[in-house]
Symmetry: none
Subunit: 192 residues, 4 copies
Amino acid sequence: MSVMALPRSGPVRSEAARLAILEAAAALFAEGGYDHLTIEGVARRAGVGKQTIYRWWSSKGDIIAEAILEGHLLDTRRHLPDTGDARADLAAWLSDLFTLRASPDGEGLLRSFVAAAAGSAETGRRLRAAILAAPLMERLSQALGGATGPRLEAAAEALLGAVILRALSREDFDADDMGTLVDVIAGVPPRA
Amino acid sequence: MSVMALPRSGPVRSEAARLAILEAAAALFAEGGYDHLTIEGVARRAGVGKQTIYRWWSSKGDIIAEAILEGHLLDTRRHLPDTGDARADLAAWLSDLFTLRASPDGEGLLRSFVAAAAGSAETGRRLRAAILAAPLMERLSQALGGATGPRLEAAAEALLGAVILRALSREDFDADDMGTLVDVIAGVPPRA
Amino acid sequence: MSVMALPRSGPVRSEAARLAILEAAAALFAEGGYDHLTIEGVARRAGVGKQTIYRWWSSKGDIIAEAILEGHLLDTRRHLPDTGDARADLAAWLSDLFTLRASPDGEGLLRSFVAAAAGSAETGRRLRAAILAAPLMERLSQALGGATGPRLEAAAEALLGAVILRALSREDFDADDMGTLVDVIAGVPPRA
Amino acid sequence: MSVMALPRSGPVRSEAARLAILEAAAALFAEGGYDHLTIEGVARRAGVGKQTIYRWWSSKGDIIAEAILEGHLLDTRRHLPDTGDARADLAAWLSDLFTLRASPDGEGLLRSFVAAAAGSAETGRRLRAAILAAPLMERLSQALGGATGPRLEAAAEALLGAVILRALSREDFDADDMGTLVDVIAGVPPRA
DNA sequence: AATTAAACGAGACGGTACGTCTCGTCTTATT
DNA sequence: AATAAGACGAGACGTACCGTCTCGTTTAATT
């Protein structure tokens, strides 16, 4: 048995408005972070009525979640280097993620993403999926000596979680620190 | 050489007001989470003028940071079990932290703390320090076979970070998962 | 030379829709008064698209004007008593008009009509014509000792206007007051 | 027994804000009429927060009522001519009232007042009192040969009501018509 | 019968205004 | 001088309607 969509006449959702909203939200997020993002601001920037936003999204978190999913906010294919040294590659990539800023003088983008995730379940899930994407998982699996399943997942979460925690506590974090982190999680014994 | 306070007349800061504010903030935080916490609400609940808050704190994040520091919000001596099995103890403690809720039907308290930390640097630092306190570090050191220094710190951050990340993405997390996480970070090989 | 309608195919105006709109407007007017009447509400109640309203009327005032004209709103044949005493009959009728309410607990209907008239020229004219109809004018003419023309018109306007003014200032108005009013306008000397 | 105000500290109502609001409301009323008057517009024009308006008034009708009372909207000492002929003076004054316009191309001010009165009980009462003021009543009493009490009141209401009714039905009204109206109400027999 | 075109129900759109809430600052009287 | 109280300008919140503009369907008159 198939679920039939109820036939409905009338105008169809405007793709132009949808895109304008997502792009405006992404731009404002990048400029001022999640806290300073307002629905009114998005509507103004997108040249759209507020009701058009409320018709399709229920909160600013929802909008950001969709913007992440469609790649307006985060380049999910961000370059993961491949030097043959999986641990070094991961450390570099995480360092990069940690220092990611929207604008040269902007707040840390990662922290703003965390704020968004704290406010919206969907954003949390999307963000996690966007970052813990296939290339990262593969490289991490190599670093762990071929781990898969729950252990690989746990390691990935530990890695990303540690970076998030440091972003939240505003600690500086250099490439060496990141290397130590990867080593610990990969179970590499202390270097001499 | 001693630092002399400038002599000055007039009433000094009211300790009663200070405590009333911290307690009101903690209560409201527990009831509605960080997002619904407002300065006006705190002033109302504490029976205090708004200016008295603004005179001594600069944001709601600041208030929460101080409330954490003084233990109004988080019992920093929360029971860390001691069964002799360091890994099991850690897993139990983290599980506890993860499922921490303000009220029976409340939002996850951890998620709300993350929102607070995302909005206030000081809160982030205080929160981290409050959770990664001495008892936890000691037990983790045991689990790691006596690690100290940067490696111990990295492990602690990975552990707490992973829990935070799961809280943010609203995944459920049972005691087994937590055990796997501790194992991976402790470098314990897969169990048969 | 005659004006020819351009030949055109297609459906003609739907009488069912027209009536549904007028009746919905009348019902909503009676329930909530002119101010709370909205085009969207009329469309919803009538089961009609908004455009069908805008196609044929240009404002809610227009709709009300047509509803009055067709008797959906005001029974223009409202009973004007005939006791032989023209002044008493007029006083009774005006009293009736003044206290007219849509629903038992409703606002004064007269006041709502005035609001409608203030907002729409056509409604003003229609309303005036609907109230100052032939039966009233005849009885008033008798009360004035056979006046006609401008003096009769002036008297009629004075009578209705006074009632409206009292409705606007929310004064109570009993049958005696109404009698005095008719007497003054009819030029009857003060009663002993 | 006296009603004591509760002793209260804190700032007192700003007279500057109060006046700015009344003046802005009066200006906007004169420019666009009651229907186009908005609270947001008043706040903008007065340079005042919306909450400052809502704190002290509950509707735009309320504001207009106060503006009338304080003479921001209607010069209650409008010149009532004194030529010795009371009926002619009244006719002239009413004609003046009827043709009163806010701006050269504005809507009739009287009609807008009626809309305001229809929407707000207090405005209705204030407006009535402002127009049916002592000078008018005295002159009317003369025209009626010394009438007082209910009969004078009824005559006054009939007079003003008739003018309002004509304003509502957008009929033109010249000085002759106005004379006839005064004559009918004054009980003067038809002129030859 | 097939074509054509307008009226229809539905409702999305860019807007304006609503009335409420909170922000951070400022003012007052009290302690 | 610090406090409780709270008015102030500012502006975001989410909702209700505005009047216009599609949509896809239905209904007549014309081919």
